[in-house]
């Protein structure tokens, strides 16, 4: 085999390896997306019972009393949860929800030391539309 043939073969092998890696990455991504779709979104709807911290924007934590049984949940709050520019669900706004027992829905993920709220929106109390 000549030097030119060697180089050509090596190029083909590199291209083949890259293509294989790409296919594997795409397959992995697809599997991950499918898994995420199948995992139910974690959320709690209830009333705010406590807003911890003295920042107007980001609470240290919130305590939520869930509808339908009164379970109590304490959430740390991801800064992303209070960053909606159209309807900033910040600590001040959550205190107003608390004052009027206006419902919220908290979307959360489980962190290493408890649940973390990553999105908070106005909720709907049971029996209302």
């Amino acid at each position: 085999m000549t030097g030119q043939q060697h180089a050509s073969r090596n190029r083909r092998l590199i291209v083949l390896a890259m293509a294989t890696v790409l296919v594997l990455l795409l397959m992995g991504g697809a599997v991950a997306m499918l898994a995420m779709r199948q995992q139910p979104e974690l959320k709690v709807t209830g009333v705010v019972l406590e807003v911890e911290g003295n920042s107007l924007v980001l609470p240290q934590s919130i305590l939520v009393g869930e509808y339908g049984g009164g379970k109590l949940w304490r959430f740390k709050v991801d800064p992303a949860a209070v960053a909606d520019p159209a309807h900033p669900m910040n600590a001040a706004h959550l205190r107003q929800h608390l004052a009027f027992a206006d419902p919220i829905t908290v979307y959360y993920r489980n962190g290493s030391d408890g649940p973390i709220a990553y999105r908070i929106v106005d909720g709907t109390a049971p029996g209302t539309s």
């Binding site: 705010v48 406590e50 911290g53 107007l56 924007v57 305590l63 009164g70 004052a99």
Partner: protein, 308 residues
């Protein structure tokens, strides 16, 4: 002090704001120690984030105040039933206790809150006027009398600071020099839609007029249905009536009237929440401050007193 005034309350150590729900013997504590500068309140450390399997409490008290301090306070509370739905306009009593270092508690005073309807419907707030004589941990025992005369009892603990974060009642109004409608477009000064007309004089200049002053710090454009929006409407209605006798000023919370950056006044006034309404007399002294929602029924007599 009678023995009945000094109770051994089943209180656990609380943080800045602790919640105790107690219903006919059922007590559920749900808070971890925390301070403003300390670590965040620790949630449940297990994979299951649930703190309590179920409260089942027929009555829960929730406290929205963020700045309680020694001296006079506007103490706001919400009373919730077993389904976590608000109990409006109830017959009730409130007993306030100072929690002692040894775990006992001393009853300091008893009062009732007035229920102010803000709407829609009977949606509103309980407001009690309290005067705390010392800082530290306090407890509130709320008793709601049901229609069949049986009481529902709930306890909640809270912290009273030695001094309030926001300017205190009795303190001089801060001479804020906020941006005005002569400095920039009104839509960058006010999130209300349409913008309100209370952006034409600085607090500093208003204080020189020798007139009483009502100052609202809030973001009505981002809280249209709940608190800030109605507060602004109430202020605008009051301005129609008292505009010649009282100066009305609104300072927006967000820089350029858009989140997330805050205007300098938020830091200057050390606001831990919003909205706030400060009532200032003709001498420049803060005579009252109202955190959160304010009903017309509550605002009206306060304004009448301001010009009396």
């Amino acid at each position: 002090m009678t023995p009945a005034d000094r109770l051994a309350l089943p209180l656990r150590p609380f943080g800045r704001r602790g919640l105790l729900v107690a219903g006919l013997g059922l007590v559920a504590a749900a808070c971890s120690p925390s301070t403003a500068s300390g670590p965040p309140a620790a949630p449940a450390s297990t994979a299951n984030p649930l703190i309590q399997p179920k409260t089942g409490a027929p009555l829960t008290v929730a406290l929205p105040n963020s700045d309680l301090a020694v001296g006079p306070n506007r103490f706001v509370l919400a009373l919730l039933d077993a389904q976590n739905k608000p109990i409006p306009n109830s017959k009730h009593t409130l007993r306030f206790f100072k929690v002692n270092g040894d775990g006992t508690a001393t009853m300091k005073f008893e009062t009732a809150a007035k229920y102010y309807v803000i709407g829609p419907g009977d949606r509103g707030l309980y407001v009690a006027r309290t005067n705390f004589d010392e800082s530290g941990n306090w407890g509130l025992e709320a008793s709601v009398i049901k229609s069949d005369d049986t009481p529902l009892v709930s306890r909640v603990s809270f912290t009273v600071q030695a001094a309030s974060q926001t300017p205190a009642i009795g303190a001089a109004c801060l001479p804020t020099k906020q941006e005005l409608s002569t400095d920039k477009p009104i839509k960058q000064l006010c999130s209300a839609n349409p913008p309100d007309p209370m952006h034409d004089i600085t607090v500093a200049d208003a204080l020189k007029l020798g007139k009483p002053l009502v100052l609202m710090l809030g973001s009505p454009g981002f809280c249209t249905s709940a608190t800030c929006g109605p507060n602004l409407e109430h202020l605008l209605a009051a301005r129609q009536q008292y505009g010649s006798q009282i100066e009305f000023i609104h300072i927006e919370i967000y820089k350029d009237a858009k989140p997330p950056s805050l205007v300098p006044a938020v830091n200057e006034w050390h606001l831990p929440s919003e909205p706030w309404t400060f009532l200032v007399d003709a001498g420049g002294k803060i005579v009252d401050k109202l955190e959160g929602g304010v009903a017309p029924d509550e605002l009206e007599p306060a304004l009448a007193k301001l010009i009396a």
